[in-house]
């Protein structure tokens, strides 16, 4: 390298020396006691709070950050995307008009819609079949955003979606319209046309009940 042309980076290098331990730190013992102080403070604070909670006192102070999941649910953000549901009209029929927009936009192709002619001439179509395969769904929320009728939402707050088979992960229109209905609906045939075994096939809120 030519003299006088040292790289600017070389001058801006900052040397950080590793901090040397002082005598007291090298002794270990004071530092061990410092550490013990922290853990012991936590221990007795939490012990006191747990005892107080058992006696019904000081409930506003948390003793642990643990959320006891099945009994205690964490609050969800209002925009959290949970299991889908189909919204319904006042007469209990699905709001969906079978426009196929959600099926088209779905990047995972998990939505299957079979539209049918609606008896009301003001409504073009209704979904004869509306399936969402949750085993495939990526929870992107595009179906909710694309829907012109506000017919599909992801606001049920249902998170514990699990099943013993891929088949059981498929939601049919009954489950989508009624979030209370939960799998496993082994008795419920998922073949077309849907014959929901619950309520002897006359489920309230179903598109069938309108006729």
């Amino acid at each position: 390298m030519i003299e006088g042309t040292e790289r600017p980076a070389a001058r801006s290098v900052k040397v950080v020396r590793r901090p040397e331990l002082s005598f007291w730190e090298k002794l270990y013992l004071p530092q061990v006691i410092c550490g013990l102080k922290i853990t012991t403070t936590h221990f007795f604070r939490n012990l006191f709070l747990h005892t107080a909670h058992l006696l019904g006192r000081l409930k506003h102070l948390r003793a642990g950050v643990t959320v006891q999941y099945p009994e205690e649910l964490r609050p969800l953000m209002s925009r959290y995307r949970s299991r889908h549901r189909l919204t319904v009209r006042e007469d209990g029929t699905p709001r969906c008009v079978g426009c196929m927009l959600c099926e088209t936009v779905c990047p995972a192709r998990c939505i299957t819609i079979v539209p049918g002619e609606h008896p009301d001439p003001n409504v073009e179509k209704y979904p004869v079949r509306f399936d969402i395969d949750l085993g495939v769904c990526v929870y992107c929320g595009y179906c909710v955003e694309v829907c012109p009728e506000d017919a599909i939402r992801m606001d049920t707050g249902i998170l514990d979606l699990s099943a013993y088979s891929r088949e059981a992960m498929r939601l049919d229109i009954h489950e989508l319209m009624n979030p209370e209905l939960r799998k496993p609906l082994s008795a419920c045939s998922l073949d077309f046309p849907h014959q929901c075994a619950l309520d002897e096939g006359h489920m309230k809120g179903s598109w069938k009940s309108a006729h």
């Binding site: 061990v32 013990l36 939490n46 003793a63 006891q68």
Partner: protein
């Protein structure tokens, strides 16, 4: 003769019952104490008929699980040694308790019972011999598994035990010099004297340096964090990597048993064992002149309670240390043992000797 035998068997049964239950209890304590330290709740799901008991049944569930698990012996392992190793570990941890006095004499009728399973003259030597043999199980376990990680763990255990046993032994020499006995019950009795009429002559006051060396080295003997290099679960899994089922459970149990051994030893040597401050065999003699007479059975019971409370406090302290400190690096461990504890222990012996020999300076 038969009566003596029966008494000894009862004493041994009491000690075994207490110690084994405490070791089982330790699994619960470990879970809950760590949970409280780390702002968690800890295992609480195991129930018996809907009763949770703060998760105390998890220990039982663990034992059931371990007993019903498959016992795997690796191919090429030395089968007999592999099976023997966990038994060695537990056995030597258990027999150590025989020499530890957990109370003073109990007078029943005209019979005087020493609350100690075995009255050994050189109890201290016996205890340390058994404590040292405890590592045999670990080494055998590592050696017989025919697994590189296991043998690494076993070798680490060997090196660690040898390094720390020396510091441990030399730290004890100071105590032996001060009290002039190796009989543990005599040693505890000697700690009952008062200095200046108010300060009990406990080991912690006569040998404070030895106490810290002893606790550090003894923690290293228990192979628990911060000295858990033989196990080192994040690097080599350890000497019991090839063990499953209850054989693994026994190594686990031996770990807790050794913690209890060390806690009781620290109590016996440095905190006056079963001594209650100002409690003489006929009752309390407070330094401000007050006196309170206590029946003999009460005196014996208070002694046992005192020993238990001190021992449990040490168990708590060790558990707290285990959840406070990170693991030592191997070179740090060796340099702490050889460059730190060992010279300080030797210096402690020399200073103690000088102080004892100087006329009028001796604490006796």
């Amino acid at each position: 003769m038969l009566e003596v035998l029966i008494i000894k068997i009862i004493l041994a049964a009491i000690v075994l019952f207490a110690v084994l239950n405490l070791a089982g209890f330790h699994t619960w304590v470990e879970r809950k104490q760590s949970a409280l330290i780390q702002d968690r709740i800890g295992a609480n799901r195991a129930t018996i008929f809907g009763v949770r008991m703060l998760g105390m049944f998890h220990g039982m569930a663990d034992v059931l699980k371990m007993f019903t698990k498959e016992d795997i012996v690796p191919q090429g392992a030395d089968k007999s040694l592999h099976a023997l190793a966990p038994f060695f570990s537990v056995f030597f941890a258990l027999v150590t308790f025989a020499a530890i006095p957990f109370g003073d004499q109990l007078v029943l009728g005209d019979r005087v019972i020493n609350l100690q399973v075995a009255d050994i003259d050189a109890a201290l030597l016996y205890v340390f011999a058994m404590l040292s043999l405890g590592v045999y199980g670990v080494i055998l376990g590592g050696f017989a598994s025919r697994n590189n990680y296991a043998i690494l763990g076993g070798l680490r255990a060997t090196a660690q035990m040898i390094s720390y046993e020396i510091a441990l032994g030399i730290a004890i020499i100071g105590v032996i010099m001060v009290y002039g006995t190796m009989d543990l019950s005599e040693l505890v009795r000697a700690q009952g004297r008062l200095v200046g009429g108010w300060l009990p002559l406990w080991g912690i006051f006569t040998q404070p340096v030895a106490f810290f060396i002893f606790v550090t080295a003894a923690l290293a003997e228990t192979k628990r964090i911060p000295f858990d290099l033989p196990e080192g679960e994040s690097e080599i899994v350890g000497y019991f990597v090839e063990y499953s089922g209850m054989k693994f459970g026994m190594f686990f149990l031996a770990d807790f048993l050794e913690t209890i051994v060390v806690a009781s030893l620290a109590t016996t040597l440095f905190f006056g064992g079963w001594q209650v401050p100002y409690l003489m065999p006929d009752g309390f003699h407070f330094p401000w002149g007050a006196e309170l007479s206590v029946p003999q059975w009460m005196y014996a019971l208070l002694g046992v309670a005192s020993f238990s409370i001190k021992g449990l406090a040490f168990c708590f302290l060790f558990m707290q240390l285990r959840w406070t400190l990170p693991r030592f690096r191997y070179d740090q461990l060796m340099s702490l043992g050889w460059k730190g504890l060992f010279p300080i222990a030797v210096a402690n012996v020399v200073v103690t000797a000088v102080v004892l020999v100087l006329p009028g300076e001796a604490p006796q």
